[in-house]
Symmetry: C2
Subunit: 112 residues, 2 copies
DNA sequence: ATGATGTTTAGCTAAACGTCGAAATGAAGT
DNA sequence: ACTTCATTTCGACGTTTAGCTAAACATCAT
């Protein structure tokens, strides 16, 4: 969870996630939106990958990045949910309408 | 909003907020929960103040810190809400219930 | 093989961060 | 006024982070 907040603490990375909200995009396509070098973008991608916030799928000669909404929701709603009942109500836990993926709830890293 | 995510990117500060969730506490009382020096804690408090996540009230020779739940909710739910409808449902927005609050939070653009 | 698309490494600068001890501030209490 | 307690401010230090260029590397398409 620490990794998620760390990843979210940078405006560029948050913006990447917002771009990914609409549709999956390739690394180059994403990089075109920012005035930084490709190595720099690549490290940003790596941080997002390590936080498990995006999924990188290599397709041909491009890499497609895809937002992992459930992880974002889990971390942020989970955190706010510990504070407010309002937010707790927004964390469906086992609501089928949430997302169609097999949510890797507690699958991953201990978040350092 | 950047300040909020920046403040949240540190585990110590997140832990401070969690302690404040239960009850307001003085600076020293909070500091006793962490194995760092008081000056260090003081800077953490300053970051939280700048992010508007806590309220500092000076009472006598102590300072009482108080969680500003609405700001936390607004930032985090607002951000997640831009991604998921589920989270959006948890954000009561500017309903009549929150009119008493004088915070003009201009909910809109999360664009960094 | 060549070219395009990322990623990685190396080496660097500059800024930000967390941390500290020591000093300064502010409010009581004596 | 002086002391004491609580907290913040002030340098200083080492680490981390974001950024760059340049080059190397892997993979795939043509």
């Amino acid at each position: 969870m620490n990794a998620v907040f760390k990843a979210l603490s940078d405006p560029t990375r948050r913006h990447v996630l917002e771009l990914l909200r609409d549709r999956p995009m390739t690394a180059g396509e994403l990089a075109d939106h920012f005035p930084v070098s490709k190595p720099t973008m690549s490290t940003h991608f790596a941080v997002l990958r390590e936080a498990n916030l995006v999924d990188a799928q290599k397709l041909g000669k491009t890499v497609i990045y895809r937002l992992k909404l459930s992880v974002l929701e889990d971390a942020l709603l989970g955190f706010v949910g510990a504070f407010s009942a309002v937010a707790q109500a927004a964390k469906p836990a086992d609501d089928a309408a949430s997302v169609a993926n097999s949510a890797p709830k507690s699958a991953g890293r201990p978040t350092s």
